[in-house]
Symmetry: C2
């Protein structure tokens, strides 16, 4: 296949990391009219995109050398990002002046800010741009995207981000996208704890879970968690929209951020502990609503 | 003023307890075309309703003797309800067979079920029907009303409840209205804790609170608490929609219910403790969003 840059109406971009999130995001960029060159650690995951017209390259450095103005990254952990950026075959070594790296991975906020500093030396702008909305949002192009970093670079990539997400927000300097994601996960965790405890109280006292959800969802007790995960708990459906192990990963970043900034998160720490119980019992790949299973154990009952 | 029952298009009802909630609720029944006779411990609070055409009576028993088919109660505590129902000048002594008492007070669920049992002996149906939505909802007639007790009695009073509230739900046998309210307050408390912790994390890390709220409200972190109380916390507005001391009262019922039903509410117990800190410092009459002030102390900062 060709590795020559091609002319395209909307320009050429790179995409690194074609997992459950990255694959549909890269697809959406292709469909929108961007020329996309891709790299993924497991090569076979590139096939589908290549069939749609993407170019597959041999390393993150090759993608950068290919000359895109914007390079998207969407991988799992801080170490993965570090390797993609700074290893021997990484982006920094072969990037051209002016490249903008948009990192959709959820990683440590302080490290994200460090990456931006390091890349600035090579004339590369790095935006931390974690997303929320899951694989469903990635496919539908309805993600929330929270962006930190250079504001001019943000304005440049905004039309592309609006292909990937419905709510695209500039949050401030480097790291602020990740801080926002941490704030998001604090509420995701605490709200879910409230839902589990309310549902336990209902179940233990003979109140219909269905009626309870219906009666209170629209008022002061209402939340996304109640409307979406409450129903799954009621049905004993533990299948993952978002996995326990992934929320635990994110709560690790929350925990680190809370330590370095002296922000004692009493409730979030407690929920994190309860999620650790689930993971310790080998249930890390269930959906986060499986937090209800910890309450089943605590209360000696079943939903 | 007349104490004679009058003919009226929609029938005659009694209303006992004209506080911040009861006053506008009784007004709405009057405006809807019901003939209303009222009693309140502090007589002066009846004046406004009397001017609108209500009859003021001398005791709860007098209201019951006046012959309404339905008698609403809206007072503060379990003991207040007990006195109104069962004291020398209470409802039970003079109620006519078939009277339906609709109790909008938030009280202990087990006591509510006991009240229903005791009144059944006198041929009186008692519905526990706590509300959510505050004085704003009471005025606008947009309360959520959660009803437990005899279903036929519920069907009889439903048209009246639909004057008072927008979401009227039958929850099951006696006490289930109160259990629902407790479930509601569990989530109200836990969601608010999540909001406070997320906002502390944002503030401590230099993230704009306004931008954070805007970026995450519509997604998986979204809640009524974030959209309504998050904004007040950002502005340092501690004025009460719903007071700390009132939520603490309700959390007392939650706590009792959790004890008798062996439902260990780890998160809710923690938030209750934090609210107790506020009350101990004399801040029980602030709005519940003042929970954020406890986090200010824990984290040594100010919103």
């Amino acid at each position: 296949m060709s590795t020559e840059p091609k002319e395209c109406c909307l320009g050429s971009v790179g995409f690194i990391g074609l997992g459950i999130m990255g694959q549909p995001m890269a697809e959406n960029l292709l469909k929108a009219g961007y020329k996309v060159c891709v790299w993924n650690r497991t090569e076979s995951k590139c096939e589908c995109l290549v069939e749609m017209g993407a170019d597959m390259l041999r390393s993150p450095g090759d993608v950068a050398a290919h000359g895109p103005k914007v390079l998207f990254v969407c991988v799992t952990g801080t170490e993965d990002v570090k390797e993609i950026l700074f290893s021997e075959k990484g982006i920094a070594k072969s990037a051209k002046q002016g490249l903008i790296v948009v990192d959709h991975s959820t990683i440590d906020a302080k490290e994200a800010a460090d990456f931006a500093d390091c890349l600035a030396g090579a004339g590369v702008k790095y935006l931390d741009a974690p997303v929320s909305g899951g694989d469903v949002g990635a496919k539908a192009g309805t993600l929330s995207i929270m962006v930190g970093g250079d504001e001019k670079a943000y304005e440049t990539v905004r039309p592309m981000l609006e292909v990937l997400g419905q709510k695209v927000n500039y949050m401030g300097k480097s790291g602020m996208g990740q801080v926002t994601k941490s704030c998001n996960q604090v509420m995701v965790a605490c709200n879910l704890m409230g839902v589990c405890e309310a549902m336990m109280l209902a179940k233990k006292n003979g109140l219909s879970l269905e009626k309870m959800i219906e009666a209170v969802s629209g008022g002061a007790a209402g939340s996304w968690s109640l409307s979406n995960l409450g129903v799954k708990i009621k049905d004993g459906d533990w299948s993952p929209g978002f996995m326990v192990k992934d929320l635990l990963k994110d709560l690790g970043f929350v925990s680190h951020l809370s330590q370095v900034s002296h922000a004692p998160l009493t409730g979030t720490n407690m929920v994190e502990t309860l999620f650790q119980v689930l993971a310790a019992e080998g249930e890390g790949e269930l959906g986060t609503q499986a937090l209800a299973k910890v309450y089943e154990k605590l209360g000696g009952f079943e939903f």
